[in-house]
Amino acid sequence: MTKIDPSRPESVLPTPSHTVGPFYGHALPFRGGEDIAPLGHPDTVTVHGYVTDGEGEPLPDALIELWGPDPDGNLPRVDGSMRRDPASGGFLGRNGVEFTGWGRVQTDANGHWYARTLRPGARGRSAPYLSVCVFARGLLVHLYTRIYLPGDPAALAADPLLSGLEDARRDTLIAAREGNGAYRFDIRLQGEGETVFLEFQ
C-alpha cells in the first residue's frame, strides 16, 4: 500500500495528515526561527499575538510557520533558514544578511508568539500578506490563514479574498498596528471572533 507507482495515476493518492502532537518541541523549532528579517533592515516588522481555543484559553503548544515575499513582492529562493554548525550539529541561526522568507515559532507558556520579518510586498491582484500555517496538538490537519497589514485601504478593499468576506470575518485577517513597526495578530481557532482559515483548490 505504501509503495506508490506513479505510472498508475489512480494509485497516487494523498497521504493523510496527522496532528503534530505535543512532543515536536525538540525537533521542529530552531534557534532564530522567528527572526526572519535581515539584521537592521529598514522594512522590518514585528508580528505577534496569541493562539486561543474555543474557550479563549491560550495554547502553550502551537507551532506557527510564516511564509512571505520581500518588500518588492519577490518570493525568496534562498535556503539557510536553519543554518547548522557542522562541528556541533547545533543551529547557528540565520546569517543576518539573506532573507529566506520563512520562519517557524512555537507559542510560549502564555500562548504568545512573535516573529520579525520584512514587510511583504504585493503580488498579483492580492493586497500584501504573509501566509500562515498553524499546527497544534488537537489539530488533525494544520490550518492556513493570512496576515494582512493595515495602511493601504484601497489595496485591502481590492483584495480578492478580503472583498468576499463580511466585515467581521474580514477583520480577523488584518493585523492591528501598535506602533514601532509592531502588529498584533491573534489566531482564534474556534468560537467568537474565529479567525478565517483557508483551503486551496
Partner: protein, 257 residues
C-alpha cells in the same frame, strides 16, 4: 466520569459508520481526517467551527502559497539522517532503515525538499521535558532527524524502532509505534505533518488518532511496508514508505529544481 477504551471504541465505530453512510449517499472519499473528530478529544476545543474559505489557486499563479521555502545543504548536517549516530554511544533498540519517495499528486518527485522526523525511543519515551511517561530515557538517542530529498524525491533515515507509549487521553490509551514526519512540497499549500506506522500493529483499532482517518484505504497509506531489499545486512530492518503531498501547486516551479 472516567473515559474508558470502551467509550472511545464506540465513538470510533460510530464515526466509521457515519463515513460509510456518507459514502453510500454519494459523498466523496475523504482522504484527510475531519478536524472535529471527537474521539481524539484535544480536537474538541481546537477545531474551527466555520467552514474554511476556499481559494481557487488556479486563478492566480502569483499567490504566495503556490511557492515554498527553500532548504539546502546549509540546513542539515551529514549525520542528521542517522539517528543512531548523534551521540557518543549506541542507542538501545532494534535498528531500522526507513526510506521512500516524496511525490506530488501527479506522481512527480519532490526534489531537494526538507523532510524532518521525530520519535520516541525504543522504550516509548520522548526526549521532551513535558513527557510524563516514566519509561527510561536513552542518553544516546534524541529521536530527531532531517534530510533533503534527492533527485528522485527519495529520503532515507537510519533510526531505532520506536516503542508504543501511553498518552492518558482515556484509561489505558496507547499510541501504536510511529514516527512523526514533517514535509514541504514545491508549494506551501502542500505542507504536510503526519505520522508513519509499522505493519500489523495490534494497537491500530484502539487508537483514535490513526482512526481519525476513517477511510480504510487512506488509513493504510500511513502504514509502512517491510522491505527486505532495504534491510541492511547484519545491521537494520528496512521499511518503505512513500508520501504523496496534497494541495495545488504551480507546475512552473518544478523547472530548475
Amino acid at each position: 466520569m472516567t473515559l474508558t477504551q470502551h467509550d472511545i471504541d464506540q465513538e470510533i465505530a460510530a464515526q466509521h459508520a457515519a463515513y460509510e453512510k456518507r459514502l453510500a449517499d454519494g459523498g466523496p472519499v475523504e482522504h484527510q481526517p475531519r478536524r472535529d473528530y471527537a474521539p481524539y478529544r484535544p480536537s474538541v476545543l481546537r477545531h474551527p467551527k466555520q467552514p474554511p474559505v476556499t481559494i481557487d489557486a488556479g486563478k492566480d499563479p502569483e499567490l504566495v502559497e503556490l511557492s515554498s521555502p527553500a532548504f539546502g545543504e546549509r540546513d542539515i548536517t551529514e549525520i542528521d539522517n542517522d539517528l543512531t549516530r548523534q551521540h557518543d554511544g549506541e542507542p538501545i533498540g532494534e535498528r531500522i532503515t526507513v526510506s521512500g519517495r516524496l511525490l506530488d499528486r501527479d506522481g512527480r518527485p519532490v526534489r531537494g525538499q526538507l523532510v524532518e522526523v521525530w520519535q520516541a525511543n525504543s522504550a516509548g519515551r520522548y526526549a521532551h521535558q513535558r513527557e510524563q511517561h516514566d519509561a527510561p530515557l536513552d542518553p544516546n538517542f534524541t529521536g530527531v532527524g532531517r534530510t533533503l530529498t534527492d533527485g528522485e524525491g527519495r529520503y532515507r533515515f537510519t533510526t531505532i524502532q520506536p516503542g508504543p507509549y501511553p498518552w492518558r487521553q482515556h484509561v489505558n490509551a496507547w499510541r501504536p509505534a510511529h514516527i512523526h514526519f514533517s514535509l514541504f512540497g514545491t508549494a506551501f499549500t502542500q505542507r504536510l505533518v503526519t505520522q508513519m506506522y509499522f505493519p500489523s500493529d495490534p494497537l491500530f483499532p484502539y487508537d483514535p488518532i490513526i482512526q481519525s482517518v476513517t477511510d480504510d484505504a487512506a488509513r493504510q497509506r500511513l502504514v509502512a511496508t517491510y522491505d527486505h531489499s532495504l534491510s541492511v545486512p547484519e545491521f537494520s530492518m528496512g521499511y518503505h514508505w512513500d508520501i504523496v503531498l496534497d494541495g495545488p501547486h504551480a507546475t512552473w516551479i518544478e523547472e530548475g529544481r
